[in-house]
C-alpha cells in the first residue's frame, strides 16, 4: 500500500514544521481561552460597536456569551483557518513538487516502487500530519478550557467544531496536493496552493464586512465550515463538512492520477 521507508523519511523531514505550527497554535489557543471573561466580552462588544467592519472582516462579529461561542469566533474564524492552511500549503508543496523541482524525485522513481505507491505514501503523510495537528488543537482547547474554566466548555460541540475545521482543511489539502502533483516547479505549486485559498479567504473577508458584498460570504470554500450549524449539530452543517471532505478526496485522486501518467522533468 505505502512505502514505510519513505513514510519515515518524510516524517523526519517535516516534524519540525509540524512542531512549529503546533507550537504557534498551542500559544494562541491558550491565550484566547484565558482571554475569555464575560467582562472582557463587554470590552470586545465595545470594539465591535466602535469598529464593526474591522471585527467583522475577521469573522468576529458575534461576540459569544459562552466559552464555545467565544472560541468559535476568535479561534475558528481566523487562526484555526489560516495556520493549518499555511501548514498544509507548505507540506503539500514539499511532498511532491519540491522533489520534482530539485530533481530528487529521480531517486524515488529509480527504485522498484510504483508512482502510485509513492504518491499514496505522500498523501498518508499529509493527511496524517493534518489530522494530528487538528487533534492536537482539540486536546489543547479542551485542556486549556478545563484548567482555566472547569466545566464551562461544551466539549462535544467543540469536538464537532474541530471535525468541521478538519473537513475544510482536507479540501484545502486536496487542492494543494493537486497543485503539487501537476507542477514542475515549486513556484507554480506554491502559487496555486497558497494563492487560491488565500484569494478565497480575501473574498470571505469582503463578504464578512456585510453590505452589498455579503453574498460573497457563501461563495468560498470557507463557507463549507459553518461553526454555528456545527455547534447546534444541524444536519446542514454536517452536509457541508461532507462536501468539503469529498472535494478534498476528489482533488487527491485527480492529482495522483495526473502524477502517475505525466512527464516528469527529471
Amino acid at each position: 500500500m505505502i512505502n514505510i521507508a519513505l513514510l519515515k523519511r518524510e516524517i523526519k523531514g517535516s516534524y519540525i514544521l509540524w512542531l512549529i505550527f503546533a507550537g504557534i497554535l498551542l500559544m494562541y489557543i491558550s491565550i484566547i481561552v484565558t482571554m475569555f471573561d464575560p467582562a472582557l466580552g463587554e470590552v470586545l462588544k465595545q470594539f465591535s460597536v466602535a469598529m464593526p467592519q474591522m471585527m467583522a472582516m475577521f469573522g468576529m462579529s458575534v461576540v459569544g456569551a459562552t466559552l464555545i461561542e467565544f472560541m468559535a469566533n476568535y479561534l475558528y474564524g481566523f487562526l484555526m483557518l489560516i495556520f493549518p492552511m499555511v501548514f498544509v500549503v507548505i507540506l503539500a508543496n514539499k511532498l511532491v513538487a519540491k522533489h520534482v523541482d530539485s530533481g530528487s524525485m529521480a531517486y524515488l522513481l529509480a527504485a522498484p516502487n510504483s508512482r502510485k505507491k509513492l504518491i499514496r505514501t505522500q498523501i498518508t503523510v499529509l493527511m496524517g500530519e493534518l489530522v494530528l495537528l487538528i487533534l492536537f488543537c482539540t486536546i489543547v482547547g479542551i485542556v486549556a478550557s478545563n484548567s482555566f474554566f472547569p466545566g464551562k466548555l461544551d466539549v462535544s460541540a467543540f469536538i464537532r467544531l474541530n471535525i468541521g475545521v478538519l473537513g475544510l482543511h482536507l479540501a484545502i489539502a486536496g487542492f494543494c496536493f493537486f497543485a503539487s502533483c501537476i507542477s514542475n516547479d515549486t513556484k507554480l505549486s506554491l502559487g496555486l496552493g497558497a494563492g487560491v485559498p488565500t484569494f478565497f479567504y480575501l473574498i470571505l473577508m469582503l463578504g464578512n464586512m456585510g453590505g452589498k458584498l455579503e453574498p460573497l460570504k457563501n461563495a468560498t470554500i470557507f463557507s463549507l465550515f459553518d461553526s454555528y450549524q456545527l455547534m447546534d449539530n444541524v444536519a446542514a452543517g454536517w452536509w457541508k463538512v461532507g462536501v468539503a471532505a469529498a472535494i478534498g478526496i476528489l482533488f487527491f485522486v485527480i492529482g495522483s492520477r495526473i502524477f502517475q501518467k505525466r512527464d516528469l522533468p527529471l
Binding site: 523519511r9 530539485s102 530533481g103 530528487s104 529521480a106 531517486y107 529509480a110 516502487n113 527529471l266
Partner: protein, 294 residues
Amino acid sequence: MDIIQIHELTKDYGDHKGIFDVSFSIKEGESFGFLGPNGAGKTTTIRHLMGFINADKGRCTIKGMDCKQEVQRIQQFLGYVPGEISLPEDMTGMEFIEFMAAYRGLKELTLAHRLIERFELNPKGKIKKMSKGMKQKVGIVTAFMHNPEVLILDEPTGGLDPLMQNRFIDLITEEKQQGKTILMSSHLFEEVERTCDRVGMIKQGELKAIDTIEQLKASQKRTYIVVFEDEAQAVAFAAEPLQIVAHEGNRVIVSVQQDMNLFIASLHRFSIKDLKAKEQTLEEVFLHYYSDIQ
C-alpha cells in the same frame, strides 16, 4: 538477446528539440556508449528508458518489458546514475544510502560498504556540505549497491577527479566481466574507449551513427603540434605531402591518420624543438568521421 530495445522513439518538444525516430538495441552483456553534444537528446532518451516521460511515438523495452508500463519490475534489476546529481540536502551521505536501501527493500549493505571504500567516500557528512564529486560518489553507490543486471549511466564520472574516474572505469570493467548490460553517456574518450563495445552518436535528436569502438579507433585522426628550430624549417616542413592543419611562426599543426610512417620520415629531416600530441575528444573524432555523411 537484446536487453535494451529502442524502436522509433520520438519525443517532440517543438522547436526541433527532442528526439526523433531513435532506434537501437543493446545486447546482453554489451556496453554501449552514448555520445552527443549537450541538448542532443541523450538524457531525453534515457528518461524514456527510466519511465520518467511518455513517448510521442515508438517504444522502448528493457528485457522485453515496456519502460513506462512495467517500470516497477524493471527497476528491480536496474541501476541508474542521473545526469544531474540532486540528493536531498538535509541528509548525510550514509543516511541517504541507508534510506535508498530501505526504500528499495534491500537489506544487504555489504556491497554498499565495499563501494564506499572503493571510492574513498566519507558518507558521514551532510550532503549539503559535499562537493560535486562527493555527491556523485553517493549517487554511484546507490546505483550499484543492489548489484543490478542493467546499468543506465548518464555522464557518471562528472565531477570525479582523474583518480576516481579511473576507479570508476575499473568498476565498469568488472561489471562487464560479470555480464552486466550497460548504457553510458559520456564525453570522455578514454572512458568510452576503455569500457564500451559500441558507440552511438546522437545529434539534434537524431541518431547519426552506431559503430564498434574498433572501427572508431581506426578512423581516429591524430593531431600533432611540431615546433621547429626556426621559421624557415617550419615553412619547408609545411610543403611536405602531409595534412597540414595550421602553420604559424615556427609551429606547424599536422593531422595524421594512416600516413604515420610518412610523418615520422618527414620529421627526421628537420631539426625539431618540441613535439606534442593534441588530444582529440570522442566527439571531435565522431564529427570528423561523419562530416562527409552530413
